[in-house]
Symmetry: C3
Subunit: 330 residues, 3 copies
Amino acid sequence: MFFEKAEKLSLADVLQLASFENADALKEQAGGIFFTDVKALTEAGSEDIAFHHNEKYKSQITDCRAGACIVHPKHKDLLPQNVLPLLTSTPQRAFAAISQAFYPEEIHGTQELIHPTAVIHPTAELGKGTRVGHHVYIGPYVRIGELCRIDAGAVIVHTHMGAKCHVYTGARIGQAGFGFAMDEKGPLNIPQIGRVIIGNQVDIGANTTIDRGSLRDTVIGDGTRIDNLVQIGHNVQIGKGCIIVSQVGIAGSTILEDYVALGGQVGVSGHLHLKKGAQAAAKSGIMRDIEPGQTVGGIPAVPIRQWHQQNSKLGQLAKTRRVQGDKREG
Amino acid sequence: MFFEKAEKLSLADVLQLASFENADALKEQAGGIFFTDVKALTEAGSEDIAFHHNEKYKSQITDCRAGACIVHPKHKDLLPQNVLPLLTSTPQRAFAAISQAFYPEEIHGTQELIHPTAVIHPTAELGKGTRVGHHVYIGPYVRIGELCRIDAGAVIVHTHMGAKCHVYTGARIGQAGFGFAMDEKGPLNIPQIGRVIIGNQVDIGANTTIDRGSLRDTVIGDGTRIDNLVQIGHNVQIGKGCIIVSQVGIAGSTILEDYVALGGQVGVSGHLHLKKGAQAAAKSGIMRDIEPGQTVGGIPAVPIRQWHQQNSKLGQLAKTRRVQGDKREG
Amino acid sequence: MFFEKAEKLSLADVLQLASFENADALKEQAGGIFFTDVKALTEAGSEDIAFHHNEKYKSQITDCRAGACIVHPKHKDLLPQNVLPLLTSTPQRAFAAISQAFYPEEIHGTQELIHPTAVIHPTAELGKGTRVGHHVYIGPYVRIGELCRIDAGAVIVHTHMGAKCHVYTGARIGQAGFGFAMDEKGPLNIPQIGRVIIGNQVDIGANTTIDRGSLRDTVIGDGTRIDNLVQIGHNVQIGKGCIIVSQVGIAGSTILEDYVALGGQVGVSGHLHLKKGAQAAAKSGIMRDIEPGQTVGGIPAVPIRQWHQQNSKLGQLAKTRRVQGDKREG
């Protein structure tokens, strides 16, 4: 089997791991109730804990046969009588905590700290407990904090990284950015003499590329999560707790403040400023700054409500026989 | 030279390799006719076999100087008199079969089964005849079937794979998906405890990433072809004979039934259902289920005819002086 | 520190490196003026050379405290009196030349030519001074010219490459393209028997994938710059001095003439012809040929002015209460 699992957790253990709204009531019956695994809503049996977090699967709650189910209070009445409800307004976080207790280390085979096929430059510094996978290359003067995990085939150069980061397989961090002068004389590269500065608890996805800065640094803040095949250009500054979904591209010198979230395949032009909590729907093409907390969509991206209106109007327009309006002279 | 080629094939050999509509007529003249190579339509000479499959290059048929040309019956009259027509309604398949006979093994240098720089965990199981390239990493408990080919730099963990699969260079299969709870307390990862289950005769392109499932498995069906730089999220289920072109991204838990085809750079939202034979034009952004056999285009994707109408109307609209219509209050 | 720097350059040295419009005037005061580094406009002090190239940052000139600043003549009046102006209509090229003089080799740790973990097939030929990084694989019969640099984890097969090329980490060059016949009998691969032919001074970005040709070659011209995570399909022909920004995808058999520039995440259909100097805005979806010097935008891509008009009209349309026009019967 791929994963090592804790044998079982008692209901009392579970109540320690996350705060549930009905914890007091549950404590009274906690004695003697045990769970042996976490499972998907449709697959959980009487000894498993399931969770519900997607409105789309509402019907799956009513058929749930789990021993207990983590669920938002607004959905608790959908659960069958014999399923213990674990009520919380943040079911995903509660499920994460309980899953981690069942699967304290979900990865086999990485017991050894540094795989012998990894090449780590003698001037690089690695923190205590940091693990380095197969065929990794870590370049000169790189610093990596404690308890990081660098997966097979990753390459890290010109980078300072904090603690508890996870660099997935094949990620490329710190190579020169796309900087040159091009004209009829041909290309002339501009030396890229900045670094990549990564905070703590940052995850960087498989085959993602993060270029180092040109004159300043490329920066990734604490707790940010970057998915697979993402491109981050030179001098980009990303704040804390940002979510960058797969295949996003962020062009050079753009700033993302804290808690910005970009859907899959979003593209962001260079030299922009995406303010705190800004969000973009998947596939958006962002060509302007985004205000705090604003959500945008479309190419070029506009406020999300306007994008929905555009799409709706475009659908209507497609059904008309011809477009009305004065002819332009141009 | 990069490729080893069979010395020659007789017309009789060629007629064994694919079924041509005019095979009977050809058999009569088969004696003494030989071919030495397959070549592009514009480059083939009297000893070569060419093929025509793209309407765009119709003019190239009329100038063809090949010994024989694989061609759809509807185009046979375009061929010059001295070119032997090989008539079939599936020219691409016939050409594939004949090319394979000329180039039975198009790849040099992979005679050795397992390159010594590859790292294969002692608990992994590899089928007979499976070849593993340079700097590959195959993790614990992985199972790979017979006659597979795993190219340089690929990484495979938490995966069961069938026979005759080809994993291209730098593909990443089985890493944890993008699963976490994020809020003001920071990110909390959800252990990803599913696997990747891959059928037979699946090709997975260079630098493509396939995440393992979270609670269930990520699944890829028999004969599916996945191009380069594709992202497949956790729990995605892909049927048989699907075609996933380069840079497509499929978000978590989406289902593709058999024979779905997605053009380059298509994005598919999570938790969707693309039914049998559904197709999407390049760059589509799919946000809803697609019915069997339906083709869609656009962002958000709509039926392809509607997308063309939208584009046409949008072009007309751009030429008008101002948009007519009642002002909205909002 | 990550980068080795020349100790200092005199103003006389600087005037040798690029041609400035006010060079004669500067020569008179060149004696005794020295600079110790290049820095960003906002960070440069009295011993540094800065440069200004982006209209957006005009206010940064007025606050500049650099010793000298490379600037377009039209902006010279914005510079404070005590900053020496270095006037040129190509500030980026001048800055590139001066930066290269300060940082003649911006990369540490690559002194050794061939890292011992690289695998180079005995039949491959490497030019003088070509450096090969960690865990690289170079396949049989590959030819690479002089003074190239192949970074960690790259894989190159079936390729001829000129001189002074730079292949970034994780790039995959020369693997088989996406060619097969697919029908109800399943997929049948078409042997890909072309090569990749790369000119001189070509840069190929991190994790980029370039497929070899099917029957003809995939070709990349001199001086072309390809960013990270780009996909180039089989038989694509790219001219000289092209700029291909990150995450672009170019489908099979498309031709780019010289000096074509594609913005980030652009997609180009197969079998198209993008003529000399054609340009496409980021995220464009190109489905037709582009005329020389023409700039396009949108999906499907249209002339850029038309795209802006479409976007503007679509914005107006979204604000109307309902779309006017005759109902279509269909």
